[in-house]
Symmetry: C2
Subunit: 182 residues, 2 copies
Amino acid sequence: MTLYAPRPPARVLGVDPGLTKCGLGVVDGVPGRPPRLVAVGVVRTAADDDIAARLLAIEQEIDSWLSEHRPDTVAVERVFSQHNVRTVMGTAQAGAVAIICAARRGLPVALHTPSEVKAAVTGNGRADKDQVTTMVMRLLRMPERPRPADAADALALAICHLWRTAHPAVAARQHSMSGGGT
Amino acid sequence: MTLYAPRPPARVLGVDPGLTKCGLGVVDGVPGRPPRLVAVGVVRTAADDDIAARLLAIEQEIDSWLSEHRPDTVAVERVFSQHNVRTVMGTAQAGAVAIICAARRGLPVALHTPSEVKAAVTGNGRADKDQVTTMVMRLLRMPERPRPADAADALALAICHLWRTAHPAVAARQHSMSGGGT
C-alpha cells in the first residue's frame, strides 16, 4: 500500500505549428526536479505539395507522436498577430490540426503565446530565438542545439506549460506582464 | 449494355469556414442542366467554448455531412488576406478542419477565393453578399433566402467549383480577371 505516492510526472507535447516546419517536443515534468527531455523533432512538408496533403502529413505525424509518447497535455503556440498573413494562415492551419488531434483523444489542449513562452523559459518575454534555444538546452541538459529552431520552440512551449501549471501565481504574473489577453 | 451513358452528376460540398458559423452546402451538377440543391446548413459553435471543443464540433459535423451526402469533391474558401487577423485565424482553423476531413477520406479538395466565387456566380468578382445570395437562390430555384449568409456562401462555393471544373477556360479567364494567385 502506497500512502505517500509522489505526484506522477506530467508529460507535455509542445507543438510549434507551421506548414513547412512543425516543431514537436515532449518533456516530462516532476515537481522539484528539472524537466526531462523525452523526444524532439520536426515535421516538414513541401511547399509545392497541396495544402490537403500537407495538413494530412502533419496530422499523421502528430497522431503517431501521441500514440508513441502518450502525453497528458498538448501545448500549442497561440498566435495573435503577425505581419505576414500568409504565415499566420499556415500557423493557424497546422495549429488547428494539432488541436484537433489532441481533442479527438480527449487530451487537454493549452495555448500559450510566444511572449509567455519566452518569459517562462528565459525570464524575458522579448527574448530572441537564440536565447530561448540556449535556455532550453540548459534546462534539458542537451549536449547539442536542437535544430531547427522550431524544435527548440516546441520544447520551450512544453516547459512553459509545465511551469505555468506548477506555479499558477507566477504564470499569472508573467501573463499580465507580457500583456497577453484571451 | 449502355453505350452512351450520360456523364454522372458531380456532387460538391462547399464549405465557408468560420468558427462561429461554418456554412455547409451540397450541390449536384449535371452538364447542361442547372445545379441542384441537395442540402444546406451551418455549424455554429459558441465563442466562449474553448478552441479545441469548437474545432472538434466542426470536425464532427463535417464528417457527418461527408458520410450522409458522399460528395465527390470538397470546395473550401481560400482566404488570402483580411484586415482582422483574429478572423483570418478562425477562418484558417475551421478551413483546415474541413480540408483534413476531406483529405482523410481521399476526397479531392479545391480552394477558391471569394472573388472567384463571386465572379462565377454573379459575373462580378466584387459583387456584394446580397447579390451572391440572390443569384444562389435563382440558380438553385430556392423559394427562400438561405440563412445565415454563410450558408449561401457555401452553396456559391459549390456552384463555383462545378462551373470552374466544367468550363476550365472560362474559369481561367475569370481567375486572371479576379487577380487570383496561387
